[in-house]
Chain length 561, copies 2
């Protein structure tokens, strides 16, 4: 066997507490290299006559990707402590893999050889809100969703959808507009809305906050926002806001104070300033988001800044009862800040959802002490490459998704945020080169997948547009201009997701994937229900044999009913 | 190249902040498989005409073990952000390794392919006390070090060293005894003492605490302890105490209250009780250390318990100015507790040393938010197997040490706690089958190694004894009964360590290791000094060529002066 490919390290995605009683243990081996793996395990204090009392149990192959097989087992250690190793077999060959390396036979004279999960402490278990698993999100870019109150339009507001947006155009979208279209959302079937920033800020996207305690006057006021949240809650819709804590806007009062008073400003340590006086060109001489002088980075290590931002986080929960915080540029802020953020918001509302914007592998933020989820762009990326761009075949797609799922614990995957696009990416119909069939397959995959899916406003009616600002066009409300075909498809999928727990909560298993015919078959299983999804990602009709024994089983075609 | 053996994942020991400006990046590849590795890297926002502006720099091979080569590079990202990948070459073959997998050429159309170190936030940098790097510890088991005040001896105290210890014997060792022998410690050259528990407890080892706020009356009183700490500080010796927070003793008042009042006790949630009434046999029906009914596990998730124990941690710093806490059974307590522990003790005394007792891989506790160090038993284990037991050859030993060093960040290694034995292991002279030469080599390796070495009381004078209670004999004070040969050897090594920064702080490089002659050669380099250590771990004389170009260099034989 290929020892160099074998990998395990306790904690993170390889050995973790799934719940207060259960450990999950995974092992990675070279693909098709190992025939069977058994877990060797026991409580470290179970000894008899100088021999440690090892148990042995088979692991199952939970998936594979391009290079590796993954093995899995669930263990309930009676005293919440575990030492363990792995027995790998292939033909006549047998090796035992431990923390101290490889052995021919499992040593039983000492537990020190073995991997260690020292104690399953409840408080350290990754624990996200249960409702997230049953939520379909809808992302709204408020300036472009609906203009409900023209009286508060900014100066120079353009007539709705009168032209394509630029980085600086305004169309008058506001909170009242969202309120007026809540029935549309209910009809669509979503039960969570995520609003990009709504606090006082000069830009149309409002990621350059001027005042974190005020609603932007062009979006409405606190009373309107309160009404929005209350109406949403009445209709069973959760509300998530966008916390832009990595940086503020240029017109944020403390930054203006530093601009004015320089080194004498009492706010000078609220930022990371390289030298005085401040300069914005050619690059800012202070830390900023990217090199954008309009977005000075906040010094979140400064206790005053920390208190200010944690007060903001608490305020909108306490006063308006919001259900989630999406955290902008979350990985550029220190871990310590996020640990305290979690303590504060969870102590106020234990089932609030904490969602970080992280485009990369995000394990260090998902260990239970910081976020509940991240925006799972590796999922997005894989789905776009397979369904939209046909850059990869069905096998590689299944491998990518398997890899993503194995890079996090299962309880993390169950509440992961799965999006096909956002205000930061081109619209999916555009990415699909206007091929509606591809968009429909993308929605099918997303809405039959585990976790918490999110629909970017307008994608469900076939809106188009390239990278920002193209993807931020005004929502199309005239039914005759909406793609009703996509809309009905999405509604049907959401309805299925709602009706069948296996659709939303089921564990995915890839049954078959072919690069030739480019079809993909997977099951979703939850409790006693299994849903079989067969996707033909080609332009040809194909005949395939269902890779499941259906004998004696009750079958329903969910799609045609 | 063997792709399956290539491993990297940001954070932990593979990509970490070494200091406020510097990132360390490591890569693991199959041994002897890759000829060169270059880091491809840039700030994520450095773009020109749609092309990401990648830099390319060579990595060095920092070591190898049985299966793998390790590659290393230091980077100072100007804006504290980094995206990076690896270019690996072997002969004509070239591959680029990124977070998204392998490529033939480095993609420059998107940074999303690459590994991400999002931002170097100062507060997240692993930061341990500087003084630890220059400290040689001496571990004292107070009941067996010296009896300075017979008036406080427990009933039934045996005459000093009159017989071998049993699990329950008392010999009257106390704090006054330590005070009386401080000059011995100064003469030996140590500048830190670590005392196993000294709080009120019935046993001789005192790991079964009755009262965390009182000195055990058989050891002395608070005045005596204050005197001990003050005298130590005058002599430049730091003092570390043992915090037994995983469990208390049977006679701890809150546990007694639960025994007495059962479910009605206000302390019932201070423990993990499976059912009432409490039973101690055959196994306790409450969580305990191992299955020891005398040591009930504390519920450190309970805010009351947490407050109580954090008050204990603060009290001994505030009132007695101790310099470190060694944390007993540290990995069975929740991470959340230790995070708060760190906040409390570091806010009182920023340079206090936090040392966890963890026998296994301890990366999850060494991420900067919990401990400064753990008792590095994997180091101990390797050294014992090579020097004491001759179970492994010089090559495998070098591989084990290289593996240990690469399993943690460098700043973690620099303050790691390196012991050859403790109150929990047989004495090294006994493990060496009474071969003094082997003990001397063990001390040479330990005291020329990086980190913070610790000598277990009496090992320096050749005391013997098997597993506990054998390793807890009374300290031998009659010079004629001490092994002066070992003692002079240890003193000389400590003096060299003190005189030469490279001896203590230098980075170790294995130059040569032979299984045939069983010799080992390594250098320690710090600033402009390099120390060369040549060890012959065999009973034969051997001739070896110094594997260093010495031309034009100033040479001193440190051993013979």
């Amino acid at each position: 066997m290929f020892k160099e490919a074998i990998y395990h390290r306790p904690k993170d995605n390889f050995a973790y507490a799934y719940d207060e009683k259960t450990l999950h243990i995974r092992l990675r081996t070279k693909k098709d290299d190992v025939e069977a793996v058994h877990l060797l395990y026991a409580d470290p204090y179970e000894w008899k006559d100088g021999v440690w009392q090892l148990n042995r149990a088979p692991m199952v192959k939970s998936g594979f990707d391009d290079l590796f097989d993954y093995w899995f087992i669930e263990v309930i250690p009676p005293y919440r402590r575990l030492r363990y190793g792995f027995e790998l077999t292939s033909g006549n060959e047998k090796i035992v893999y431990t923390e101290k390396g490889f052995y021919h036979e499992a040593p039983t004279d000492d537990t020190a050889y073995y991997f260690c999960f020292p104690f399953l402490n409840k408080i350290d278990v990754f624990h996200a809100p249960e409702w997230v698993k049953d939520t379909v999100w809808y992302q709204i870019f408020p300036e472009r969703f609906a203009n409900g109150n023209p009286a508060i339009d900014p100066e120079g507001t353009l007539p709705w959808a009168s032209e394509d947006p630029t980085p600086t155009s305004f169309f008058g979208g506001d909170l009242e507009g969202i309120i007026q279209h809540l029935d549309y959302l209910v009809d669509l079937g979503v039960n969570g809305i995520y609003l990009t920033p709504i606090f006082h800020a000069p830009s149309n996207h409002k990621y350059d906050t001027t005042n974190y305690f005020e609603i932007d006057p062009h979006f409405g006021d606190k009373q309107t926002f309160k009404k929005l949240v209350d109406l949403c809650h009445e209709k069973g819709i959760r509300v998530m806001l966008d916390a832009v804590f990595n940086h503020c806007g240029y017109y944020f009062a403390p930054f203006q104070d530093v601009l004015k008073n320089g080194e004498a400003s009492k706010y000078k340590d609220w930022f990371h300033i390289h030298e005085f006086p401040l300069q914005t060109t050619p690059r800012p001489n202070y830390d900023a988001f990217a090199f954008v002088a309009q977005m000075p980075k906040l010094n979140t290590e400064n206790p005053e800044v920390k208190k200010y931002l944690l007060d903001v986080a608490a305020y909108w929960i306490q006063e308006f009862d919001i259900d989630g915080w999406r955290l902008d540029v979350a990985n550029e802020i220190d871990h310590q800040f996020w640990r305290e953020f979690r303590q504060v918001v969870k102590s106020m509302k234990p089932d609030v959802y904490i969602l970080g914007e992280i485009w990369h592998d995000a394990m260090p933020w998902l260990r239970g002490d910081q976020f509940d989820a991240v925006m799972n762009y590796p999922f997005t990326n894989g789905a776009i490459r397979f369904f939209a761009k046909n850059e990869i075949g069905a096998k590689q797609f299944a491998n990518i998704i398997t890899n993503v799922l194995h890079s996090y614990p299962e309880n993390v995957n169950e509440v992961a945020f799965h999006l096909l696009g956002s205000h930061d990416t081109p619209r999916i119909l555009t990415v699909c080169d206007n091929d509606v069939r591809k968009v429909k397959l993308l929605f099918l995959f997303q809405l039959s997948f585990t976790g918490s899916p999110c629909i970017y406003y307008g994608d469900e009616i076939g809106m188009t547009g390239g990278q920002d600002p193209g993807c931020r066009k005004c929502m199309v409300w005239e039914e005759e201009k909406q793609n009703r075909d996509i809309l009905e498809h999405v509604k049907k999928l959401i309805a299925l997701r709602k009706a069948h727990p296996a659709f939303r909560r089921g564990k995915i298993t890839f049954m078959d994937a072919s690069d030739e015919s480019n079809h993909l078959i997977y099951t979703k299983t939850y409790l006693d229900e299994t849903i079989l999804v067969m996707i033909n990602n080609s332009s040809k009709e194909i005949d395939i044999t269902v890779p499941l024994s259906l004998k004696g089983k009750w079958l329903v075609n969910l799609w045609t009913n």
